[in-house]
Subunit: 649 residues, 3 copies
């Protein structure tokens, strides 16, 4: 696995570049991402390009033996674009154009923004597409950051109406499928369809959902247009994007199909502190390590978004500046995150950033060096892990025995219709993922269309939009299946499933959901049976079991809580973690997988023949390595931020 770094030559005196490059190489770094915010330096006036500085920067890096990933700079358009063409500005949900002066203030539906973007992308690709040091291209930067996927501009509305016309054909069909007879919402033509915001009551859920589908498609289109230009003009280079954590505003699986590789920006402390579904006590517990499943969750997601190829484009190397609170990572944690990415199959880990910038918006964001250019704590750990990585065999990642299905449509549905104020799609997915991880299982996080052949265990947390095709693949597989509550509850038109939920999954699960309820915090419901005992909260369903379906556990009022039909388990509620652990453990056992109840903070992950163990802390724990294992890294007992690795086969 290569190490890399994010570098911004335009922000530093060119006299420093050569020394920076030399020190990068000396630190063991190989990959350098540059240029993704330098549009104004490359095209200072419309149609006028200045390449000399970038030629020199790329050349300097190349001379030091470094490989370059170039970022297209479309996330930060230059001033002349917004001044000359104000129609490129995105519009917020209150109808106000977003101002220039930061980044991402533009609308994906703007024709001028798209054409100006393709012009700069093409110019870059023509200039550097064949450069021997250039090994890859990053499209844009963190699509959707700062809540920018949805723009409520007139142009977006016009394109939405066209999108609807393509999807539904004629307005009568739309009225029928949307159910517009309700509240006299029927339209006489597509031009009567408005934005799903600013209404006195909520919009029709399918109206809101189609708007999100459309917005996602606009991002996909923008990315595909860039990728097409890059592929044509820079053959053989890897085209990738850097996704974000716990971000679901567009369909990542779909975008992955337009890329050669997926990368993501890993800020475990920032995500732990700012993710709403992580309870405050957990945020405190993992404040200096990051929640022990946060990085892994995204590694396991983006490896599959990238169809096997993934990397970390921005790796937190010290405190960030954007979470509500921003602590320093515990000693060793930057090294541990790096090795964890390796264990999950990353091709590279690129630290953000080479040197802390003393000015502008990110001046409080740390890097491998402080603003005074002294090596920071994270820099020292990067140097150490660069050496350690040389001793670790770069083995191929094997498919995990467990597949968890993550579906962006289901996420949008749940967000559109929470029912309970604390409902969270990613929260449900993360909970079930965590249960598998606490049992020492490796997981692939896949899309709803993924083949399931060879999986021993399939997890479907809150898969509201589960369809007949998925049901058929599940039917044909031999895997143990755990279906989470709400799954199969909605059709593609955001209607309640025919014949009641779980709709297409009903034959598999052998049950019908007669009614559902959301529960205010404190309204926990006890459940028991089949060796399971614990509490449900937040969401519960009243389920009717069909003949042949076994009720494993029942709620205190006697209704079914956990059901099983053959190799399929169904959870009729949001379960507390210990219950999830027990259910997943039971299913894993039936699947022939061996599991272990890991100590708090310890997690396992295997890459090829190499078995890793990571400990977030606190305290010291023993790793579950066999007695005669060939030891590659670390020791049998790990303290906070400890990492061990041994040969498993």
């Amino acid at each position: 696995m290569k190490l890399g770094v994010c570098y911004y030559p335009e922000q530093w005196d060119s006299a420093r570049w050569r020394d920076d490059a030399r020190r990068m190489a000396a630190m063991g770094l190989k990959l350098v991402r540059i240029a993704e915010f330098a549009w104004a330096r490359m095209e200072p006036r419309e149609g006028e390009f200045e390449w000399a500085w970038l030629d020199e920067a790329v050349g300097t890096l190349a001379e030091a033996g470094l490989e370059v990933v170039l970022g297209t700079p479309t996330a930060a358009p230059p001033r002349w674009l917004t001044e000359r063409y104000p129609e490129v500005l995105a519009v917020d949900a209150q109808g106000r154009p977003r101002g220039a002066g930061s980044r991402r203030h533009v609308c994906f539906s703007s024709d001028k923004y798209v054409s100006a973007s393709l012009t700069i992308v093409e110019a870059m690709a023509r200039r550097y597409g064949q450069h021997p040091a250039v090994v890859g291209w990053q499209t844009d930067n963190e699509y959707g950051c700062h809540d920018t996927v949805q723009s409520y501009s007139p142009r977006a509305l016009a394109r939405f109406r066209n999108w609807l016309e393509v999807r539904y054909g004629d307005i009568a069909t739309l009225n029928e499928r949307w159910g517009n007879v309700f509240w006299s919402m029927s339209c006489d033509g597509f031009e009567q369809i408005g934005l799903p915001v600013g209404l006195p009551a909520q919009a029709n859920p399918i109206h809101a959902l189609d708007w999100r589908r459309f917005a996602s498609d606009e991002v996909l289109r923008f990315n595909r247009l860039q990728a097409d230009v890059l592929r044509a003009l820079s053959p053989g280079r890897t085209v990738l994007h850097n996704f974000m954590g716990f971000f679901g505003e567009f369909d990542h699986h779909a975008m992955g199909r337009d890329l050669d590789m997926a990368t993501w920006d890993s800020y475990p402390l920032g995500h732990t502190d700012s993710t709403a579904f992580i309870p405050p006590a957990e945020r405190l517990r993992w404040a200096r390590s990051g929640h022990p499943d946060i990085a892994a969750f995204h590694h396991d997601l983006y490896r599959n978004v990238g169809r096997g190829r993934f990397g970390v484009m921005e790796q937190q190397a010290g405190p960030v500046n954007w979470a509500p609170w921003n602590p320093v990572p515990q000693p060793g944690q930057v090294r541990a995150w790096t090795l964890e990415a390796f264990a999950h199959g990353a091709e590279f880990v690129s630290y953000f950033r080479w040197r802390q910038l003393p000015y502008a918006q990110e001046q409080m964001h740390s890097g491998l060096h402080d603003s005074d250019d002294r090596v920071a704590a994270g820099g020292a750990e990067a140097a150490r892990v660069a050496i350690e990585l040389r001793e670790l065999p770069d083995e191929a990642t094997r498919p995990a025995p467990v597949a968890l299905v993550l579906d962006y449509t289901s996420h949008w549905m749940l967000e559109t219709q929470r029912h309970g104020a604390d409902a969270s799609y990613f929260g449900e997915a993360f909970a079930l993922y965590g249960a598998a991880r606490r049992l020492g299982l490796d997981v692939d996080i896949v899309g709803p269309d993924a083949p399931l052949d060879g999986r021993a265990l399939v997890l479907l947390p809150a898969l509201l939009a589960a369809d007949a095709a998925l049901a058929q693949r599940l039917e044909q597989s031999t895997a143990q299946v755990i279906i989470g509550a709400r799954s199969g509850s909605k059709t593609a038109d955001f209607r309640i499933a025919d014949g009641l939920p779980p709709g297409p999954l009903a034959p598999l699960a052998g049950l019908r959901v007669r009614s559902v309820e959301s529960l205010r915090p404190g309204m926990d419901v006890a459940l028991e049976g089949g060796g399971l005992q614990g509490r449900a909260s937040a969401w519960r369903e009243q389920v009717e079991a069909e003949a042949g379906t076994h009720v494993l556990a029942r709620f205190e009022d006697g209704t079914p809580a956990i059901l099983r039909r053959g190799r399929v388990r169904y959870l009729a509620a949001t379960l507390e973690p210990t219950l999830l652990d027990a259910v997943v453990e039971g299913a894993a056992k039936d699947a022939g997988l061996s599991t272990a109840r890991l100590p708090e903070g310890l997690r396992l992950r295997r890459r090829g023949r190499v078995q890793f163990a990571f400990h977030s802390g606190p305290g010291r724990v023993a790793v579950p390595a066999p007695a005669g294992a060939t030891w590659l890294l670390g020791e049998r007992e790990l303290g906070p931020a400890g990492v061990a690795a041994w040969l498993a086969d």
Copy 2:
């Protein structure tokens, strides 16, 4: 009492109507409300009407022996209205026109909206006004839902200025009565008066109050115009409206005078979960039953708004979809709510809705049947109670011994000038109402102009706007009176009462309020005396008792807390429930009323000779029935959702 149901033929294939109607009748339902959201189906293009479907629907219901209440569809205007006449759109407090695509996006001050509304109302009335199956008309639907009473449109502002000119005559008078000398606010003409929102500091309280009075008058006008059309074209039918719970944005007493009957939409679980003044612990306790006073409070209010005639137009029959959390009612609760409405004198209870709709905004709102058309839990309870009701004598409701005065002007005043951040007018009224109910007393909730003859006990919670006419009626009555804090504190021009609060009530109460204070939660003040002991919080007054006024209890600093002058008690603070119970108990005793300290969750209510008891739970409690009572329903010990009835005389 009849049972009924809300039904939307336009939402279902007409092939299903006949069977639906047959099953309604078989379930014991008699009344069906239809059409209140079907404007687009009745008038698909401006001036073009389609009646065939509705003719068939009404006919089908009539053939099954059902009676029909038609709703005028003005809460959900069709797309052509807003597209062709964008000036009909309401404007929110930020100055943004509200979008079409849900409902209630229109402005009561819009001339075109009013005229288009009267056109469809008249067309319906001409078509169905004489139909033998049509027994009533509902005007609009839930006026003000989704915060839509106030529209900040240019037309509303123009009409507000006219309204002010009518009220004050000339600008000098307005300046004088508003006190516009303060902060140089004096106006040179009515055209200088603006909206009371978007100012750096708060608006003049009388400015804000007059704006609310105006907005209320606009709703009243709109309703009256509809009622006039209906009365002219559909003689002999009941004209009614379906009000909402804990909603005070317009004057319900005044609207009641324009109707033949008041109905309300009873969703006890939704109200319990979403009402701000109900403490979180109470929300949890009553999450599956609804707070034991919520339905009763509104029954007792709307019975009087309807001048004796009231019904429940929409009765929660399962989980709703609109509260922060939406649990399933406990078993038996739908039946209990139905019988409770009967006990309070309802003419009918109409369930919402016949069948859960699988699409659009309310797809997660339950009904008597689930979306797959199987009888839901609430449907089974409705069928059961339909049979039980046959055995209960439909006796006339007698005036209650206790009258609680609820005044919308006082509500607006308190909202405009909370003084303490947690102040709530409905909260104060609900607290005093609850005290009477916990003592087993029946209550009428009346307007400030209501005659008080024959009342044994009159309760005036936070009656800020109490005027001389009310003071005179109190003087002339023989009732025991409990005056809550803040009462009589403001004139009609929103000034501090002359001679200090309680203003016109001062001679009755025998005291003056020298100063007032609001108390941050935790600043409780102990009080004691006259056998009373407990704590006040939130609001306290420094009161000066006149000679002849007896101080029953004093605060810990020695100042008067509860005072009595003859048959009038005054509460100088917001008291905790146990203190309120004791004060009301004392006054009731002095009034010759017999009371009982009921167990938690148990409530009583009498209809004619029949005495009812309702238990919300938890646990089992004995009802206070005399030994030899003639038993009509239930048993002497009630569990959760239990109901008992016996003959009292």
Copy 3:
């Protein structure tokens, strides 16, 4: 010290003025502030003035022997101004013009607002500038109240661009100093610079900071223009302004240089209840007394803003109406506040207001009399203290041994870049101030440019913008110095200090801050050493001590927490109060100051030879007076609101 009162003759029938004036004098009041909201009465139509009423009012007060401070009425423009010139309206951060109908709805950058203001100021000054009873002028009223310093109007933006051009000279320099190379923010000209609001991500911190500097300068300009007119036309009178508590939207030190005297509006209960950085438990504890340091903090600040001359223009005399909750002060507290102002060197205390007004926005704001004109509790205390003051020698205030540096630029920097969600500049300053006060020390709160000669102890809480000039003055002084965390961390261009923080203070402190972190509540860190033991929270720094710097205490991970180099101490974290007490105690001891650990709620303050003690409560405490002290006021043991005074030398 004089007592005074705020009076509004225009709000009362002129028939009452004479009696009011007589009673003011009888109560011992000497000073009356009038007219600051009476623009509409003085200039009812543009250019037409009506002086008769004000002539009479001033004359009536003068006849009663009262002195008059006239307020210029520019905080409350008349209706004709905003109706005829809508461009005078301020614009909020959402781009909406603020409405007329309250006050402060105007934009300091509006040419018409400025010219109309100068017209009325000049007219007043010509009319009353030489009147013998007129002793002073108050410019405007509470600049910035209701969040009105910043206006986002087109005119403000235009003037901001000019301001930038003046500051930076050319756009290349601005781009360089702002670091606009980041995110392609470089501008081609000043006209491309926009507002720092409404952007998807945060604005460049220097963009936000310069906007605040500009907004502050606009207020300073407006005030200076008024002061110039007043000085020219009313020679010999005191020109002052009434500042607010915990308000830092413009540079008060700078404005002080344009005034003869500073006054402030002291509402200790309102400030205690509404100040975000005061923890809820403290708000409750001091709900009826005000936090024991709140009034003192502002006295000590505004005495220095006024370069030795200060007063209290509005003194809370009973409950206010504008905090979330508004309790009545404990008995004696109004008197105690008055004496406390005296102890801190006030020239006058003027109560707000003579009589509670029964109408308009402030009708629930108490005064010396209630709206029925009876003396309120606060009025009785004012009368008492007027007599007591006659016995107290009006000694000159001496410079305090302790100087605390309060810097508005640092405040703006910290607000722009909190890093931790609960960070508060005033909170940091108030904490360190409180430590000195709990030790019985007198404090001057001074600006960053103040000379430090003669100070024994200098406190620098969170002085982010500390510059080389200050470092030099500190170097040249002999004072003990306590430097709070974050000090010296930013340059004037809002960059990280060269060579790392504390930048210019580094040579003094003998250390470098290698990294910083903000800590979620609950992430406390223990520290110990040098006799100190306790906990840090919220903010922590990783500090590298230079040779010769002594580490007094270390965090639990061994890194330096409190450091000392000669007479300079550095705090590498936000410390809990007991730790602050110990650090300040140590430094004070080294400075030769005597300190005492005062009981909770007790505070000391000396004016000349007179030593005061104030007790906020609860309970009774002994004051630390020497055995043979000459007693002037109170007793050796004080209860709540108790005050004692004795001769100290």
